[in-house]
Amino acid sequence: MQQYSGFGLLKHSLSHHENWQRVWRNPTPKKKYDVIIVGGGGHGLATAYYLAKEHNITNVAVIEKGYLGGGNTARNTTIVRSNYLWDEAAHLYEHAMKLWEGLSQDLNYNVMFSQRGCLNLGHTLQDMRDIERRVNANRLNGIDGEVLDAKQVNEIVPILDCSSNARYPVMGASWQPRAGVARHDAVAWGFARGADMRGVDLIQQTEVVDFIIEDGTVVGVKTDRYGDIKADRVGCVTAGHSGVMAAKAGFELPLESHPLQALVSEPIKPILDTVVMSNHVHGYASQSDKGDLVIGAGIDGYTGYGQRGSYSTIEHTIQAIVEMFPIFSRVRMNRQWGGIVDTCPDACPIISETPVKNLFFNCGWGTGGFKATPGSGNVFAASLAKGEMHELAKPFSMFRFHNGALIDEHGAAGVAH
């Protein structure tokens, strides 16, 4: 097995990098697996990795219709934080945070997790109440968090307009020091490499066109390239396309898939050292290691699978950024793009059994999926391994939308990105 290190780089440079091994194989699928994961994004790959690593289940295939990590994993704004309001969400995201802190070493792949801290700004009295509420909840849940006043915020981010001249002056913020950003592609590739090394088959460019369901139990999937592939359990981790997949299995989900857009500026010299988010003026920004300002905002209001949204959303986002950071007026926007986010009515995910036996769904992460990647994969793997939901996943059953036990992160949790 090929370990990565600085020494390895030196060694390979002497042979002109001609002898690097493949990061993953390109296998032909077997006829049957213990577990099939539909969807080779970050969450699906993490699920496969932890199935192999923690549950010793290696007879696993990840089936991806495009290329690994090519969906929302490749399109998000890379923010990692765990300062969620409600216990259920906080525990899940903090579980992910703990895995992030050590992920590069665990994977032997540098996912460039940078714990540079995250500010959620408050601009109104109600924002500040919500911030106080959330930080207090976080601390009692063992999650780091502080409430800062405007002056403290300005000390952390001097380029932020904290003056009273702003249309919505900054009154304070919540601050999670352990939050940060990670290199999104590397996360998918690192999990993929780790899963492949342990024997998981990563099947790319292959679409699952249907589930094979017998007597209400899933027994495999139909693919466009390799025909039927059998499995004891199937986990569907297809983000924006979860509604489409559920329809194939014969049920509906409490989901709508919306475009979520993001954009980057041209690369500039380091100027923003933390993640800054504002729910009220509706924009957030961080600066990538390459120098781009990575910027995002809210979702478009309509169902859309086009990976494109409306331009007015981009305009509003940039207005918010310039409102917060007036010095960026002359910085230039380089590129915009869109993802497809599957949003739940309570802004929390679904990690759940379904009306079809042995078919499990992990979806509904909305705008908050990236930060949960290792945690999502970890609890989903445990659930698939045992055939019953992991303790942390139980509250996220799709059936909460029947009995009313919603985990409403809309109310007071700040932006869910």
């Binding site: 396309h241 509604g243 489409v244 329809a247 509906e252 989900l253 409490p254 989901l255 709508e256 898939s257 209001g301 309509y302 169902t303 859309g304 699978y305 086009g306 494109r308 409306s310 331009y311 007015s312 599957d342 009515p345 939308f401 029947h402 009995n403 009313g404």
Partner: protein, 93 residues
């Protein structure tokens, strides 16, 4: 950004004047009190969310304030038809 024909104003207008209200033709159960939790949950939350033709509810929020239906392709974003509340779509899969 969409250009949407308002069936009440009789002309195309910019998306900025409209708001989307999700899936159309979700009738409120006539007797909510006799619904099970499951039926009521389905009415409130569970949606078709198709990739393809979608019948959805929009309102001309900054214009005539009327709600109406749109049949739109959710991947190409083509609007196939608009029709008033109470009418049925002509473009179906």
């Amino acid at each position: 950004m969409f250009l949407i024909y308002c069936p009440h104003c009789g002309e195309h207008r910019e998306e900025e004047e409209f708001h989307n209200h999700g899936q159309a033709h979700i009738a409120r159960p006539l007797d909510p009190d006799s619904c099970t939790d499951e039926e009521w949950g389905n009415y409130m939350f569970f949606r078709k969310n198709p990739k393809g033709l979608h019948h959805e509810l929009w309102v001309h929020a900054a214009g005539c304030r009327k709600f109406f239906n749109v049949t739109r392709h959710t991947a190409t974003y083509e609007i196939k038809e608009v029709y008033k509340i109470g009418e049925q779509p002509k473009v179906v899969e």
